[in-house]
């Protein structure tokens, strides 16, 4: 971020704690297949791209995803 202007950092990623999909049935039902792959890739990589951060938040709230 510069002093006078704001711009989101595109490469910014949130580090993930030890997370796993607890409810695969709900995960498969509520996250369309192509997006499932993106979520699973993020879990494997241990980091969340910003675009997926709101979805991760919702998945945790619904206890589909559990992080320790």
């Amino acid at each position: 971020m510069s002093v006078t202007r704001y711009r989101v950092e595109e490469g910014r990623v949130e580090r993930l704690a030890d997370c796993e999909v607890r409810d695969f049935e709900m995960f498969s039902m509520l996250v369309p297949p192509t997006l499932q792959n993106a979520v699973l890739d993020a879990l494997r990589a241990g980091s969340i791209p910003p675009e997926l951060a709101p979805l991760f938040k919702r998945l945790k709230e619904a206890e589909v995803l559990v992080c320790t």
Binding site: R7, L30, E61
Partner: protein
């Protein structure tokens, strides 16, 4: 293959989205699935709920969208058979259909009766906003609106902040003020943008308020930016409790002649998608003409209309 006036405008102004979707043929297949699913869900509602099928907003969205296409008559009887389209092979067009598949698995009747947990609907809504086709839809809209020309932008009903993120990824506005009634969405949006919610001291602010008609909220917005050059209303008109009142109040924080950049799904666009979003909590269903009368009544003047309904209503209006 025939093209309507709106199809030609969509090709002219919304080419990037159509190219990403695999061209007009693939996009039409995807839109065909939206209509096919809408007809399926309406049949299920009619079968289970009879004359009460359109007594909830989900059913009303299906009724209005299918009625506009001549698929059902005034009584809701199906009068035009909707053939199941070929599945699109393009990944973005297919993703759009996958959203409909996922919603279908929840059960249209269960949704209409309010028996599906809010949390499940929130996950699916969040999924939709994170899908590739939606991202390209957002990006193409921002291209068309030339968002980079506006230094001070306000965004009502910013939801989870994906539109703000898309703007700030390409543009460095002097001030960006996003607001939403849901504290949970404000928190998600602020997290996505890497800022604290309700702190309006830097260049970007995500603020929790139900309306800009609230004097203290308008004061926060004005103290933050003075007057805004543009308001970004991208598929959010139907989330406003009272759109005319909200837009009229919004006008008070806009510069005279400021731009209102409008993208709005309407009943003539994608019937299944419209019903899905309404089930997520949107409050209204508009025909494209309703959008224009709403904006006129709120004190705005149309500068340029790009499309009426295909793929959705797109226009620039000015604070008169």
């Amino acid at each position: 293959m025939s093209f309507s006036f709106d199809d030609i405008n969509a090709l002219r102004y919304y080419g990037r989205f159509i190219k990403a979707g695999g061209g007009i043929g693939e996009v039409r297949k995807a839109l065909g699935w939206s209509t096919w699913y809408a007809a399926k869900w309406w049949s299920e509602l009619k079968h289970e709920l009879g004359i009460d099928a359109n007594k909830n907003i989900f059913g009303r969205a299906l009724y209005m969208a299918l009625r506009a296409r001549g698929v059902i008559d005034d009584e809701g009887k199906i009068v035009k058979r909707v053939e199941r389209p070929e599945r699109p092979t393009n990944p973005y067009s297919n993703e759009f259909v996958e959203l409909h598949d996922a919603f279908d698995a929840l059960g249209a009747v269960e949704v209409a009766l309010g028996r599906v947990d809010r949390e499940k609907l929130r996950v699916l809504y969040s999924s939709m906003l994170a899908q590739g086709w939606y991202d390209i839809m957002r990006e193409t809209f921002l291209d068309l609106m030339k968002i980079e020309q506006y230094p001070k932008i306000v965004e009502p009903h910013c939801k989870e902040g994906q539109m703000a993120y898309a703007v700030l990824r390409r543009h460095e506005p002097d001030r960006y003020f996003a607001y939403d009634p849901e504290p949970d969405d404000v928190e998600a949006a602020a997290a996505l943008l890497g800022i604290a919610p309700n702190v309006c001291t830097d260049k970007v602010c995500v603020y929790q308020t139900s309306t800009m008609c609230d004097e203290s909220s308008a004061e926060v917005a004005e103290a933050f930016a003075g007057q805004f050059d543009a308001a970004l209303v991208f598929h959010t008109l139907y989330w406003m409790a009272d759109p005319i009142k909200e837009l009229a109040c919004l006008k008070r924080v806009l510069k005279p002649g400021a731009a209102l950049l409008v993208g709005q799904q309407v009943v003539e666009s994608t019937p299944g998608l419209l019903a899905i979003v309404v089930s997520f909590g949107a409050k209204h269903v508009f025909k494209w003409r309703d959008v224009e009368t709403t904006l006129e009544a709120a004190g705005y003047k149309r500068e340029k209309r790009y499309t009426r309904y295909s793929p959705y209503y797109i226009a620039i209006w000015r604070a008169a």
